[in-house]
């Protein structure tokens, strides 16, 4: 699928490029803009980003694959992230993760058949003081029991 930026996003890119003395430094924010528009970073998206920022395609590939928050395959509409690192683990992070896994019937990196949910077991999200936590797309839900985590997932449209 060929990919081009919307006019609105081209304006956003023109603003963000001004933050850096070199155009190619804006690759991370531009990849975020692309991901917001396309949902994930496909090879075509990377090519378009490279063209826009006048940089080699392989450099964009390198950046996109290094950072875990760029989806290199389609994610669900609700990307559910469960932290199981130590602070969450000590307060029941694995119980939350198991409950979510059982409910969605997918494991780490999986997407439900209807494309509504995807699941990721993530590393520390910085919610250690309010553990355990899940994040759905950009929103944090903290201080959860497994039951509360499930009701949050139920409430997603």
């Amino acid at each position: 699928m060929p990919f081009t930026f919307t006019e609105e996003n081209i304006n956003k890119i023109n603003t963000v490029v001004k933050k850096y003395p070199y155009k190619n430094a804006a690759v991370m924010p531009v990849l975020y803009i692309a991901q917001e528009q396309n949902g994930w970073i496909s090879i075509e998206v990377m090519q378009e980003v490279a063209r826009t920022l006048e940089m080699p395609e392989e450099d964009v590939l390198g950046v996109a694959t290094f950072y875990t928050m760029y989806h290199k395959k389609p994610a669900g509409r609700h990307h559910v992230q469960v932290c199981t690192n130590v602070s969450c683990m000590l307060r029941g992070g694995f119980d939350v993760y198991k409950a979510v896994k059982d409910k969605l019937q997918i494991t780490h990196g999986g997407v439900t058949g209807d494309g509504k949910y995807s699941l990721e077991e993530v590393e520390c999200m910085g919610s250690c003081g309010t553990a355990p936590m899940i994040a759905v797309n950009e929103d944090f839900y903290e201080n959860l029991t497994p039951a509360q985590a499930l009701s949050i997932i139920d409430s997603l449209k």
Binding site: K19, Y20, P21, Y22, N24, A25, A26, V27, M28, P29, L31, Y32, D59, G62, V63, F66, Y67, T68, M69, Y70, T84, N85, V86, S87, M89, L90, R91, V122, E123, C124, M125, G126, S127, C128, G129, T130, A131, A135, E138, D139, F140
Partner: protein
Amino acid sequence: MEKIVLPDIENFHNLDVYLANGGYTAVKKAYAQTTDDIIDQVKKSGLRGRGGAAFSTGLKWSFMPKSTDKPKYLCINGDESEPGSFKDRQIFEFNPHQLIEGILITCYAIQAKSAYLYIRGEYHKWVNLMQKALDDAYERGFVGEKMKETFGHNFTCEIYIHKGAGAYICGEESSLMNSIEGKRGYPRVKPPFPAQNGLWGNPTTINNVETITNIPPIINKGWEWFSAIGEPKHPGTILFGVSGHVNKPGVYELPSGTLLTDIINIHAGGVPGGKKIKCVIPGGSSMPPLRGENLEGVKMDADSLRAAGSAIGTGGIMVMAEDTDIVRVLSRLSKFYHHESCGQCTPCREGTGWMVKLLDRIVDGNASKKDVDLLLNVACNIEGNTICALGEAAAWPVKFTIQRFREEFEKYTADTASIDMPNKVHSMRKTVNPVAKVEV
């Protein structure tokens, strides 16, 4: 107790409230002095970096070259990905303007025209909160070109927020610079140090968010006031993030040198159910763990913790009660470091993977006692053999957990490994090379 970084003032994040409480007066005071004076005051205050290494902030600033045609940069490290560390997030949310004011003063002291505030990608909400505060500051003329009129000084600087994208390694200063440059977050070989060759090859200083937030009060109230707080060799307050098995987890701002047991038992409300403490990691997951019976009298500052056999790190205190399975905790932590190793250096890339495999084998009950020594051996072969400190960060928890909690591993291991070996050579080296079970 006076709070410096997170004062108990309602709506302090709001620019008007901040101004009503003396906000942005320290910048004016600082700009009336020479840059050398500012650096000197910060040196004398004894402020040490809050990002992990506890290096003297004033000294770090003084490394910046005075005469150079190159542009200078300031990077503020808010990557905060260390498990157990969640303090900078409080600053973005509750005290963003003091951070901005600190950036303005620091930029002046090192004569940097641009500052990049690096915030980890997962903190979407906090990036937005910080951006809002920054936009407000720009609008009122506290940042950017309008500074000239506001502060009556011809120094100006720009502040940009750079959002990370989920890489722990970008909290390492040279990796952070590569990330801002739009590259893979690979740490660089030092020397050259950032003060000579940093962002885009220009002189750069990198400071932690909490460190910078301490600057305005130091300028306003004087270094003498600051240096009198807490432990003389590591003065000021520290944001302690307490997590794990405590009744009231959260961030507590306390003077340095506060007793670790006081933080856990008084401020954080003690361990639920009155259980004993088995283990405490006092400075974020990379720091050596302490045994529960060795906590008496341990003070929370860099030198006291070093004497106690650990380190202050980011002040993230992880408390584990007596019924915690330390081996499983270590196994989870090792997976984290394996996941976050950038892959540049072989000892770290391969070693973290081996540690995960060995710990999995131990947790699965398939390991022999010799495997624990092998694990220790792998850890010791990572330490000191990598470009950046992630090698140590991965090796220390393993090394010190084995040294200090050896009996925990005894429960999981037998005298001989239970795995069948496919041939005689392997069976003679029972402790090495985990091989899949072979049907006979």
